[in-house]
Symmetry: C2
Subunit: 457 residues, 2 copies
């Protein structure tokens, strides 16, 4: 315990909490590529998006220049119920590893949704309410986003309609019940409620659904219902904006104790957590004020950054959403069963994709079994049972700390611990029983999907 | 939001954390009645208990005079990983209820075991390790205690053997997997591993087990295995001593902001949480320094305080443990299915029983459906999904706050929120589906069990 004056957990005071979200795009020289209309291949304008998204969220989505967006008072009040989240010094893990490295993690799992998703859910629900809408629709796979959104909607008295991928709906009845506790209606997808759902059911009777199909149903429902809009929990610029609260708190806490990180790492599925965590630090790097190593961690089974291509692609498998330029495996790519449900997305946030393309960030992929080994090691010494998604970052933090042990360097490593694994015990059980798959897609498979990417000039 | 200077969450600093546990018995004029040897009916001596419990824990169990026990450095280090727990001002609940009351709750669910049980588990594991033991045995019903103990044993490298009531083992595979993640061995009880287990299986083939049977198996295993002792998560004096950390932190946090509670309430099964929460406040009351209303909340289906008798009884249904004087329904009493598994115990801590008997504390019983209504209301405005046990306290806190609304009094209510309900979604599902039972035992039923209490002079 080298730095005796640094507590196990650094909690900011209420008055130290951020009052504005930070828009990293304002400091990017190369801005993320704009969303394109899937029909015309021209940049989407606000007007074209207004049937799908709330007006204020569209403004946030398209604004590449304003560096700060004030956090409305109502959202700050809600944040105060579960934030600031602790920045934890992993003293016990350091001791276990016998490493000179100093490891910190920003823990976002201390709320009932169990993850960082709530940071954006409450913002999106607020703007929907402010616009006078009746409710919002969304899809959920693993269920963390659906849970967060149902909590947020319950708080503002908004109707919440969740399309849950049918196999998850059946396999995760507890997740479904948490959403019902918060008053959300949860429909297994595909359903008979939408045209696209009926079409899919007619073509594939007995299908257990997919995230792409659930997105299509949620969008259709929003567009065809009076007073409803669609909301999304990751990938979009607006979501990374809201999630900057993670990085801003982390930076304030580190600054308070004069700590300068060497490495900042987090798991990346759509990119909402990593984008939020690194935002203010990457801003410093872009402005030439400081330098850090940033590492995105993705599963080897769904390696968008490390083996994908940087190109325009559909955000959904149903191909109804706008085109986004991103590192992608192709919207038709279906990863092998991987328990980190939140990391199974075929693409990646446009902002992170641009930063990676510009060489400002690294990426590594890790195998599932290695991830669960790290998860269990972490759980046993640090007490927290981590979500499989978060455990990807734990794996890399441990690996980097072990490198320090070899070299003798006392690097400071900060990673994002996005959530808890209470609803992922089936995956832990498979791990304990030695039944976990480490399948990695072949080059041929990846080429096959990449070949079907839309052709954009 | 009347008191703008009081934050939503009061977190103590590390240096403000308690360095000693408070032993309420030292301030009690009427000491709790001693444990009796079930054969001789004479007070148990340390020597008689040493085959079952660790030496230091026996010392703590039997000491009615020492007011403070220093918390060893190793335990304080572990506490720092998940403590101090927040004292939360329930601003959102107050606003929802439109009450002038000020409501606070001490939230003990912010750790992977999901409850306050970890506070004593880590202490008991520490003393076992210090005594050079190989491991400990215990039983678990709902699974919170077993989870906490497995985390504590994993931290100190102790073997942990958990007998889990068979029906819970089968119905709660996720709880089981969490314990396995922490390296515990989990055996469904009754098992073929112990004499008592084999006997029960021979007499009742296909039985799904009971807590009493699991206790008997755990005790037998401890007594017959070299280097093992038995540990228990509630009821005992030593457990209330360790849990005083809850009340000490609460008092420091309230004092820091000059807040004086009028009512302090918590759920009571064996009494570990309530006893810990009220300890320092009750100490003040006993010393004549301050006055508070204390309210113990129990389920109407298992009403030890409100409808039980104050008498010596067996702590276990197998009748192998010492006799304790307590409010009890009789060790043969089996409550109707009630989802608050942690509140199904037939008896109550001797310390709390004596205080209740002396008129220093009140008790109320509440029906299950009303408890879940309170739980859902709380979850929707305060964000946290409460455990069914904890929700008993929420019910009473809301009821008292609504009385304040009628009378216009701005009372300060503090309640213990002992844990989270992530592993209790089956109960929530029954509540949502209107399938929850509110069965209350008849007077005849209770008299039948009370008639079988052991006869002690």
């Amino acid at each position: 315990m080298a730095n005796e004056h640094i507590p196990y957990k650094i909690y900011l005071e209420e008055k130290e909490m951020p009052t504005a979200w930070y828009n990293l795009r304002a400091d990017m020289k190369n801005k993320p590529a704009p969303l394109l209309n899937p029909g015309t291949h021209r940049p989407m304008r606000a007007q074209e998006l207004s049937g799908v998204f709330c007006d204020e969220l569209i403004r946030q989505e398209l604004d590449n220049d304003t560096p700060y967006f004030e956090i409305p008072e109502e959202i700050r009040s809600f944040y105060k119920m579960y934030r600031p989240s602790p920045l934890v010094r992993a003293y016990c893990l350091e001791e276990k590893l016998q490493t000179p490295a100093k490891i910190y993690y920003k823990f976002e799992g201390n709320n009932t949704s169990g993850s960082h998703k709530l940071n954006s859910a409450i913002a999106q629900a607020y703007y929907a309410k402010k616009q006078g809408l009746k409710g919002v629709t969304t899809e959920t796979g693993a269920g963390q986003w659906g849970t967060a959104l149902s909590m947020a909607c319950s708080y503002f008295g908004l109707d919440c309609k969740v399309y849950m991928v049918k196999c998850s709906y059946e396999q995760k009845p507890f997740r479904r019940e948490v959403m019902r506790t918060y008053g959300a209606s949860v429909t297994p997808s595909p359903s008979m409620e939408t045209e696209v759902g009926r079409k899919i059911l007619a073509e594939h009777p007995g299908t257990t659904g997919s995230l792409g199909c659930a997105i299509s149903e949620a969008v259709e429902k929003a567009v065809t219902s009076q007073g409803y809009r669609y909301v999304l929990g990751s990938v979009l610029n607006q979501v990374l904006l809201h999630q900057s609260v993670i990085g801003l708190e982390t930076k304030t806490a580190l600054d308070k104790y004069g700590i300068k990180p060497d490495i900042i790492t987090g798991c990346a599925g759509g990119g909402s957590n990593l984008g939020g965590l690194i935002a203010p630090f990457m801003g410093q790097k872009l402005r030439g004020e400081a330098d850090y190593r940033f590492i995105a961690v993705e599963p080897a089974s769904c390696p968008s950054f490390t083996r994908g291509v940087y190109a325009y692609d559909f955000c959904d498998t149903g191909m109804v959403c706008p085109l986004a330029k991103m590192y992608t495996l192709g919207s038709g790519f279906i990863p092998s069963p991987n328990h980190a449900g939140g990391l199974r997305y075929h693409g990646m946030s446009s902002i992170l994709s641009q930063l990676y393309h510009d060489g400002l960030m690294e990426a590594v992929s890790v195998k599932q079994t290695e991830v669960f080994e790290a998860a269990e090691q972490f759980a046993r010494v640090e007490g927290i049972l981590p979500a499989p998604e978060s455990s990807h970052a734990i794996r890399v933090a441990i690996d980097e700390a072990l490198k320090c042990k070899e070299t003798g360097e006392a690097k400071t490593i900060v990673f994002g611990l996005t959530g808890t694994g209470y609803f992922d015990m089936v995956a832990y059980e498979k791990f304990h029983n030695g039944e976990m798959s480490d399948y990695i897609p072949t080059d041929e498979e990846l080429q096959q999907y990449a070949a079907r990417l839309p052709k954009i000039d």
